[in-house]
Symmetry: C2
Subunit: 342 residues, 2 copies
C-alpha cells in the first residue's frame, strides 16, 4: 500500500481570518442556495447544463452520469482528526477488556494513556494496527450497527455536535442537484468503506453500493447456529487512496466518472486529474480549506503549515489551475457551511 | 485463490434425452412466458409478490432489493468451454505476433497447435497464464472495445451463433420481471468483470456497475500524450468464485442480496447458501442442466460424469433440497431456452 496519509493525527494550524458571508441572496429556484454567486458556483451549474441538456454537444447519457466525492475534508470536517480514527480510539478500551494482553502493548498503551501529544506522534503503521484491531472480529452487520450506535453518541469537541452534523451544507446541495439531474453520486473515501456505508445513506443520500473505500479482508464462515456469516479480518485488501481510487472505480463499477470532488493532495490528486482528462465535458473540483473562523484553514497552498490531515499542496493547487479544475474557497464561495448555522 | 474451476476445458458428456416442450400456454399478462407452469415458476412469482407487496409481512424496501446472477451456465451456455476462455485462445495468435518468444513456450505452444485433446489437458495454472497474458497490457477501454469486437464476429460451433445469442430466454424474462418490480439485477461471475461488463448492458440490461467478477490488477500511468490511463496488469486481485462472491458483495456494495441464481457447485454454492440464510423472504435458485437435446446435460447430481465446467454436485443438490432452494430443470421448467428457437 502506497499510503500518504502519513501522520493521521496532528492538530491543524488554525489561523484567525475573518469569515466572509458576502454574496447575493439565493433566488427562489436556486439549487445551490448556500453558495455565493461566483465562478465556482457558475462552473458547477454550467457543467450540469452542458452534460444534461439534450441539445448540448456535450450531452452525457443518463446511465453514464457518475459523480465521485471524497469524504473527509470534501463532504465533512476532517480536522483535527478523521472521525473514523476517533471511532477506533474510542473502541480501544473495549478491545483491551476483551484482550487484556494488549493493555501494555504499543500502540494501545499510548492511546489508553490519553496523552494527546504522544498519540499525535504515533507512526502510521501503528495507527493502522489500531484501525484493523478495532474494526475486526465481528460480522459485517455487527460492525455497521456499532458504527451507527457510535455516531448517535459521539460528539465533535469544537462544535459539540454529532459528526454527521458536520457535513458541508453547500456540498449536500451539490449532491442533490446532481442527482436531480440524473447523476449517480458516489463516495470514494480513503477511509473504510464499511465505516462510511453505515451512515452514508442517512447522511448524504448515498446508498452503500455507491460508496467505495479502503477495505479489510472478509472471512466466510458459520456462526454458533451454523448460519453463514462474513467476518471482518485484520488485513487490508483494497487501498482506496491516490491512484487506488481510480483502480477501484474500475474494480467496482467499470466507468470513468464525469465529475469528481476532492480536497487532499495525498488522496485526491490522481482522481481529479483522471476525471478531468476524460473526453467531453468533465468537472474536477478541489475544496480549499481557507476559513479558520467558520471551519479550519490549512495546507501549503495557502502558505500554511502542512497538517498531514488532508492538506492542499502547492503542486496540487498549480495542477488545478493549469488543468482547469475548480478551486472552491470555503471562505468566499460558501455563504453557509453547516446546516445548523443561523 | 481457492479455485475449483480446476479444468476449464473438457467436452461435456452429452446424453441423448428428448426435450420436453410440455406445459400450458402463457397468459397474456404472464411475465415469464418461456416458463412452463410448475413449482419453479410459482416460487419465483411468489417471492416477488411476497417481497414487493406493501401489505406483505415479508415486504422489502425498494433500495434493498438486490438479485444476483451467476453468468456461465446460469444466464448463458457454458459448455463445452467458457466463452471467455475461447476469447483468450483466439487472442493467443496476436499475442505471439507481438511477443514471438512465447511461440515455443507452454502453454502458448499447445494452444497454437490446435490439438483439442492436448488443450483440454492443460492444467488450470497454465490456462490462467493465457487469460492474464491475453487480457493485459492494454487500457481498460481498449480491452472493452476488443471484447465487443470479438463478440460480433465469434460464433459458437454448435449453434453457429454469436455467444450473446446463447443467453437463456427464461432468465432474460426473470431479469426483466425482477427489475419491473424494483429489484436491481447484478451479475456475480467467476469470469473477468471487465470481460462481462463489455456486453452485459446490451445483452442482459445490466449496467457495468452491477457486474462483479474476478479482477486483474490495474496500473495507473500516462499514455504517449501524457493523459492518465489505467492499464490491465497480469496479476489477480479479486477472486470471485465460491465464498469470494460473497466477500465481493461486501467489498463492492455492502449488502446481502435477497435473491441469487447459480448453477455450479464450484462457484455458486456459498452464494446460494448465504443468500437463503438471510432474514425474511429469500430466494435461491439453482439451474440444473438436464436437457441434452436443446442444450446440454451434465453434472453428478443427475448421475452424469463430472464435466468440470459448472457441474451440479450431488452434495449441492442435496443442500438445495434441504435448504429449500429452487432447482430449475431446464428440460421440464423451460418451454423455450433460446430466443432464436421457433
Amino acid at each position: 500500500m502506497n499510503i500518504t496519509r502519513r501522520d493521521l493525527i496532528k492538530a491543524s494550524a488554525a489561523t484567525t481570518a475573518l469569515g466572509a458571508f458576502g454574496g447575493v441572496s439565493a433566488a427562489a429556484e436556486d439549487p445551490l442556495p448556500s453558495w455565493n454567486e461566483g465562478a465556482s458556483k457558475k462552473a458547477i451549474l454550467d457543467f450540469v447544463h452542458a452534460t444534461t441538456d439534450k441539445s448540448s454537444p456535450k450531452f452525457v447519457p443518463r446511465e453514464e452520469r457518475i459523480a465521485e466525492f471524497d469524504q473527509d475534508g470534501t463532504l465533512w470536517v476532517e480536522q483535527p482528526v478523521y472521525s473514523e480514527v476517533i471511532y477506533c480510539f474510542d473502541h480501544v478500551g473495549a478491545l483491551v477488556k476483551e484482550k487484556p494482553e494488549l493493555k501494555d502493548r504499543e500502540p494501545f498503551k499510548t492511546v489508553l494513556s490519553g496523552d494527546r501529544k504522544a498519540i499525535a506522534q504515533l507512526p502510521l503503521r501503528e495507527l493502522f494496527e489500531i484501525v484493523f484491531a478495532t474494526q475486526s472480529g465481528m460480522t459485517v452487520e455487527q460492525f455497521k450497527t456499532e458504527v451507527n450506535k457510535w455516531m448517535t453518541t459521539a460528539r465533535d469537541p469544537r462544535w459539540k455536535r454529532k459528526y454527521t452534523e458536520l457535513v458541508y451544507q453547500p456540498m449536500l446541495e451539490v449532491l442533490r442537484y446532481l442527482r436531480a439531474n440524473g447523476y449517480k453520486t458516489y463516495i470514494a473515501t480513503g477511509g473504510s468503506a464499511g465505516f462510511v456505508r453505515a451512515y452514508a445513506e442517512a447522511t448524504y443520500g448515498i446508498p452503500p453500493e455507491q460508496v467505495n473505500g479502503t477495505t479489510q479482508a472478509f472471512q466466510y464462515g458459520y456462526d454458533k447456529d451454523q448460519r453463514p456469516v462474513l467476518t471482518r479480518e485484520p488485513k487490508a485488501v483494497l487501498d482506496n487512496m491516490e491512484a487506488g481510487k481510480i483502480e477501484n472505480f474500475w474494480l467496482c463499477y467499470g466507468r470513468r466518472p464525469y465529475a469528481a470532488f476532492g480536497n487532499s493532495s495525498g488522496d485526491d490528486q490522481q482522481m481529479l486529474e483522471y476525471v478531468k482528462a476524460g473526453t467531453g465535458e468533465r468537472l474536477s473540483v478541489v475544496v480549499m480549506h481557507d476559513d479558520a473562523t467558520r471551519e479550519y484553514a490549512y495546507g501549503p497552498a495557502q502558505g500554511l503549515p502542512d497538517t498531514k490531515v488532508g492538506p492542499l499542496s502547492q503542486a496540487m493547487y498549480d495542477m488545478a489551475k493549469s488543468q482547469n479544475w475548480i478551486v472552491i474557497s470555503m471562505k468566499n464561495d460558501w455563504r453557509r457551511i453547516f446546516a445548523f448555522e443561523t
